[in-house]
Amino acid sequence: MFEVIAFYTFSILTIIMFGIVVLSKNALYAMSALAGGMIFIAGFFFLLGAEFLGVVQIVVYSGAVMALYAFGMMFFDTTRDVKENIHYKKVLYSLFIASAILIVIIMSAPIYSANIEAFYPAVIDGVGNIQMVGLILFTKYLIPFELAAVMLLVSMISGILLVSKRMEMNLTEEDHYEEKGEII
């Protein structure tokens, strides 16, 4: 019973939060709503017994990613409303509807799962989720895991380089004389 209540509560909250993200005109509100939505998603993870994933979700998304966005937003003028000119509204809205309907149809379609077998059973007696995740991550998924690590490292370095002062100076030196409007 608790599970049902929790699911619906989280569902409604997540949808609302993400709805705000998509529709809000203020970037700050959108970001805050996104952070909230992430936390609720972590709630789903806990509900599904994926504790490790839930923790990672909160730490990485609500913590690190949001912090990054927050820093990023300092560069922009966030007080101003986001102005967006939308052309071809009819096309746009029909696309919204078509895509939404289709996706829901797919997902709610009876999923035939008879021949899906679990290779890595999630629950073994006496072994917790985090322990299992660790086991699998470092056996079967070792190489992807290492690659993900390298990828994160690379992106970190590139992130730093892109925004760092020296880099910026080089770029502005080259483009100093270009007028801003020309590129548009």
Binding site: L92, L95, L102, I106, A109
Partner: protein, 618 residues
Amino acid sequence: MEKYLYIALFAPIVGSLIAALFAQSPKNLFTGIFTSALIFVSFISSMILLNYVDMDKIVHVEMMDWISAGNLSVPFGFVVDQVSVIMMVTVTLVSTIVHIYSIGYMEHDESFNRFFSYLSAFVFSMMILVMSDNFIGLFIGWEGVGLCSWLLIGFWYKKHSASWAANEAFIMNRIGDLGMLMGIFLIYWNIGSFQYDVVFANIVNLDPSEVTWIGIFLFIGAMGKSAQFPLHTWLADAMEGPTPVSALIHAATMVTAGVYLIVRAGEIYILIPEVGMFIASLGAFVAVFAASMALVNKDLKRIIAYSTLSQLGYMFVAAGLGAYWIALFHLMTHAFFKSLLFLGAGNVMHAMDGNLDIKRMGGLYKAMRPTAILMSIASVALAGIYPLAGFFSKDKILEVAFNNGSYLLWGALFVGAGLTAFYSFRLVMLVFFGEKIYEKDGIHPHEAHPFVIYALTPLALLAIVAGFFEHSFHEFTTQLLSDYEFTLDHSVGAMLIFATSAMALSGIAYAVYKYKRGGFSENIENWGVYKLLSNQYYIPKLYEVAIMKPFTALSRFAWLNIDNKIVDASVDLIAKTIYGGGEKARKMQSGNLSSMLRWMVVGIVVLLALAIFYRPTV
């Protein structure tokens, strides 16, 4: 004897090729003499062969293979038998005389050498035509004479009318050639050979309907070459060529090739009397039809051309009714007197500075007596008066028609005989006697060179005496050709001869009488009949309106409308659609991330829809 065969065949082409080397250089008497000499050599060889050929002694050679593919095999083979040797002698004799005559006739022409080259090439083609031992060889000659005829009619190519007439002749002949090819194809697929002997030996085993078709197709070929109705218009126009050409090609030899074909293929036609009857009927029709046009024409050469047409009709009557040796006999005698007539006309034409209107001549007898005598002899022979050559051959044809019970044909030929006599003497009277109208045009006629006249005498001699060889000719040719049996009573035969002679004589008499007294009054030119005849029954006009113009219009329509506007346009339309589609699709690639994202979503939607709704049955 093979040696003589090769000499007879190849001497003309040697002459032609050597003359061709000088084609672009100025006049060189040597070419004329040289080619004439070689044709004469060919004539001598033919005479030797004529002497040699007898019952069993036929010269038959196979020079080399020509085409062989599948089951088909065509050699260059030549045969000298009773029929071909007659043709060879006739052709080479007339050719020799025409060559010598041309030395005089063409003496002022800048393309003297070229002329002799063409003329000898023609003789060569004609020799192939008559000497070949198979239908394909015949066809080679057939087309070869067509080509030479094209070259020679259009010899004075600067004249629009000459080149037009040349093309007309070639194209009309091609229509016939197609028919002939079809006949040859039919022979091949039924018998598997083109050799005369094989074909004739096996033709009896064929289905009668197939034989009928073969006969019809071959006759279509003959119609083209021999200018039978409705393919006759080219012959009169072909008179644009130099006169010796008209004498040689369009009177004595090439146009008679059709008759030769029917005679040669007699063994086929004997099986299909219905087709033979049709040939004879058409021949009789042409005999009268052409003679009627000759009655009113004012052009010297055209009159003789129509006369030729009419005489070809006579030959076809004989050939169609199965009297092959008579057809061949008339072919030979006709060759002599008709070429004589033409060559005489050439002299007249020269004397009149190229003027051909007989109404502008008259009284030329004084100025050119030998020519007048020669032409008169030829005309008498043509009219068929005893004892000249025409009498023997033409009367025989009438007899055949009567004998066959085809009284209608006989009647037509009988009328034709009268007409022939009339127009021949109308011509003689208007040209040589009466008032000297030419003096008004300030022309001073002069006789041709003496050697030209001398060259013509053998022809005149033959036109007079050839008829007396009838019996030996009959014996000689019927060794090969099937004989024709006369069942007529002697007295009826005599009656017929008398009637025909009377008809011819009265025709002559009427012409002489009428034109002595100044001819017909001018207002007959307003008669409907006169107009009809002088416009050649409006047939050339009809061809122009009903065939040439629609064809040109249709061709232009096919090009401008069908080809450009439908076929090509539809191709271009495809290209334009694709190009236009690309032009429109280019907008998709606006570089705007937002619209790209939208397209991405479209893609996702489409793919998802496919994944859900399209389930291939495995």
